[in-house]
């Protein structure tokens, strides 16, 4: 017979160790810095800050104990006592009038977060299947048993060791050591908290993009409802990647907050010097935001790493798109001058990576000319984008645009596209269904595409497909930050999944087993929320 509240105590421990100290530190920082206070004025930002600061602090404490060779079991209770005393001291010193204890919150948002928390309290974490959750729990247990962040042995069979960012496992090990609660119970409890926090972080992303709280809450609601990419698997919220998603969404929020702030302009007239100076002034004028972003990126790096790539890709795609759009239409971002430098660096980096791959994989493309095209295609697109950004003549612009469209559309594998709707037409697979499918290029060479069965079909059918078309329509009718960010990332993400040439380039460059997760950049809930709010406002006008 299942005890009704078998996990109640673990929830209290999770709340304490994952949020309390971080929140107190957050309030201390907020009392010292008006810029930080403003950045974290939404209550969601406070909660995410509390989580990040707690996890970071816990990680630093355990790292210190590891390096000093101090046993965790004996020292952790003492450290907790000290931290409680320190927290009380901080709390008493915070000038109440300088701090927004709760801040900007609304009933609808509170109701949504509580509902999600209750739903996941009841549904629980995904541990009833022998999934990778048990691998992670075993690693956390080994850390707690050995009292070290860096286990030298393979934690399952003693032999096969895999490098994995240790921050989440360290935090779980700490909670387990202190509370005595078994890891499966803790994992089950963490899921409920992280589902709500992930939703809050997604709200922040939507808010930072749109500057519209109503749209952001609709996006958060849609995030709970539609299947989406793996980010929205709420029962998987205790996985390290989902912690990283929280910090990734928050990083986007901070980045867009930087763009919203007024800043100094450089006195330089043009060129690289101006770009560098603008960047320097941007950093100097937004130091708190930049530091916050760096802390968030560090948290991502030490939790799961990969999301740093998607963060950089998402911002990079937007910067290139906004910078080029600003050349032909009114500026999307008023303070875009430094973007030209960033845009050029990004495009040159893509070209450089293609050159690198061409040299590195010479043995492959000598047998397979399609692989050579795959390595050169992104470079060609980047070159075209560079040409467009220089504002050539109308005729040349149109020619370059046509060539780019032909290259991109021509690189799509139509059978792979059809198989999205008709699974029986799927391209041939490999022995392991996690490996990419095999496509043939124009010259008969072998390329790869991601299998739709790997979370992608669920993400695209049907709200994902609707979102792609809606995003294109929105940016065509009104090219503002929100629409351009959503549309540019949606198109890039889906093109990489449809084109064997682009996907081959990505696979060769990333050396990672799941580059198809680039579809994370299809922000379906925000796209649909933007369409709904705009349509609703137009109908009511």
């Amino acid at each position: 017979m299942m005890p009704i509240f078998f996990n109640l105590e673990s929830h209290l421990w999770v709340f304490y160790l994952f949020f309390v100290n971080g929140l107190l530190l957050h309030y201390s920082l907020a009392s010292l810095s008006p810029a930080y206070r403003q950045l974290t004025s939404p209550v969601e930002a406070k909660v995410v800050a509390g989580l990040g600061l707690s996890m970071g602090l816990n990680g630093l404490v355990l790292l210190s104990l590891t390096y000093l060779n101090i046993a965790w079991e004996s020292s952790l209770p003492l450290i907790v006592c000290l931290s409680v005393l320190l927290a009380l001291a901080l709390l008493l010193r915070i000038p109440g009038h300088h701090v927004e204890w709760v801040g900007d919150i609304g009933l609808a948002r509170v109701a949504l977060y509580i509902t999600v928390w209750v739903l996941l309290f009841y549904n629980g974490g995904l541990i009833e299947q022998v999934s990778d959750a048990w691998w992670h729990m075993a690693l956390a247990d080994r850390m707690a048993e050995e009292g070290t962040l860096f286990t030298e042995l393979g934690h399952l069979n003693g032999v096969s060791r895999r490098e994995y960012p240790p921050l989440l496992h360290a935090n779980l090990a700490m909670v387990s050591s202190l509370s005595g609660e078994p890891l499966p119970v803790l994992w089950n409890s963490v899921t409920a908290w992280m589902a709500a926090v992930k939703l809050m972080a997604y709200y922040l992303l939507a808010l930072g993009l749109s500057r519209n709280a109503g749209l952001a809450i609709v996006a958060a609601l849609i995030f709970v409802l539609v299947p989406g990419m793996g980010v929205s698997y709420l029962r998987v919220s205790a996985w390290p990647s989902h912690f990283a998603y929280v910090f990734m969404f928050a990083s986007f929020y901070v980045a867009f907050r930087v763009l919203d702030r007024d800043r100094e302009r450089s006195g330089y007239q043009s060129g690289i010097a101006r770009g560098i100076m603008e960047l320097f002034l941007l950093v100097r004028h937004n130091l708190v935001h930049v530091v916050s972003c760096l802390v968030l990126v560090s948290l991502i790096f030490f939790t799961h790493k990969l999301e740093v790539v998607w963060l950089a890709a998402g911002l990079g795609v937007y910067i290139v798109a906004a910078s080029i759009a600003g050349v032909y239409r009114s500026a999307i971002e008023p303070h875009l001058d430094s973007f030209a430098l960033i845009r050029n660096v990004l495009l040159l980096a893509i070209i450089a990576s293609s050159i690198f791959l061409t040299i590195d994989e010479v043995a492959r493309w000598r047998q397979n000319y399609d692989a050579l095209i795959a390595y050169c295609l992104p470079a060609s697109i980047a070159l075209g984008a560079l040409v467009l950004s220089m504002r050539p003549s109308k005729r040349l612009s149109r020619l370059v645009l046509c060539v780019l469209v032909v290259l991109l559309v021509g690189s799509i594998d139509l059978q792979h596209l059809r198989s999205l709707l008709f699974p029986l037409e799927a391209l041939p697979g490999q022995a392991n269904r996690e490996l990419p499918l095999l496509a043939k290029g124009y010259f008969g060479g072998q390329l790869v595409v991601p299998g739709w069965h790997l979370q992608l079909r669920g993400a695209l059918l049907y709200s994902g497909i609707v979102a792609i078309f809606v995003a294109c329509a929105l940016v065509w009718t009104r090219p503002n930050r929100l629409h351009l960010f959503l549309a540019s990332n949606a198109l890039v993400a889906v093109l990489f999944c449809l084109s064997p040439y682009l996907y081959q380039w990505l696979v060769s460059l990333m050396n990672y087993h799941s580059p198809w997760r680039i579809l994370t950049l299809l922000f379906t809930p925000i796209i649909l929320a933007a369409a709904l709010t705009q349509a609703w406002n137009r109908v009511r006008e």
Partner: protein
């Protein structure tokens, strides 16, 4: 509110987008989907209004806590323990032992002798004399020891839980009665709990 052409157009957009959201969201409220996914061992990654903690409680190690805590003082740390694949992961998350019976993508093949033994399914066919002899020879030759970490093969664990759906994942759990019948002579029972029975290899 008057209905001009643009307004009608936006109303259509509103209906289409809302319709796609409602259609895609329906699976969260489908109680039948739970049983379909369980029948196919498909992960229930999304929330479902009709899903509950009883699935998590019954199909994980949460209900084995009493047994696991009782076994803890009986187990020498950094030993090797053989069990079915699901129970191996449950134990890995809570006790300081090494488990050879794990998923392939977690590099099970790194332990060649264990891989050969487990792939042969000898431990699932202990009613056959030659398989019993094979297991005995495996134990006596110390082939189960993980020399890289000085870990001796000391324990075997049987999960008696009939209700845990994961017990059908591995022939070791499906043929546990055969295992229990034939393990005498190579191992003694040192703990027999509500769900878990622990054997220690006879030296």
């Amino acid at each position: 509110m008057s209905f001009t052409k643009p307004k009608v157009g936006w109303a259509v957009v509103l209906v289409l987008v809302a319709g796609s959201i409602v259609y895609d969201a329906m699976f969260h409220f489908d109680s039948d989907l739970i049983q379909v996914k369980r029948a196919h061992s498909s992960a229930q990654r999304h929330w479902n209004l009709f899903y509950g903690q009883e699935y998590v409680f019954n199909d994980s190690s949460i209900k084995y806590q009493g047994d696991i805590e009782a076994m803890r003082p009986l187990i020498e740390p950094n030993s090797v323990l053989l069990s079915d694949i699901s129970t191996s992961y449950y134990i890995a998350a809570q006790l300081p032992v090494f488990l050879p019976n794990i998923h392939r993508h977690h590099k099970r093949h790194s332990l060649h002798k264990w891989r050969d033994l487990l792939d042969s399914k000898a431990v699932c066919q202990l009613d056959e004399p030659e398989q019993r002899a094979r297991l005995k020879e495996f134990i006596q030759s110390n082939a189960g020891d993980i020399t890289q970490v000085n870990a001796e093969f000391r324990y075997m664990l049987v999960n008696k839980d009939q209700d845990n759906i994961n017990m059908r994942n591995d022939c070791l759990s499906q043929t546990r009665s055969s295992f229990v019948r034939n393990v005498n002579g190579v191992a003694n029972t040192i703990y027999d709990g509500e769900f878990l029975r622990l054997y220690r290899i006879i030296d």
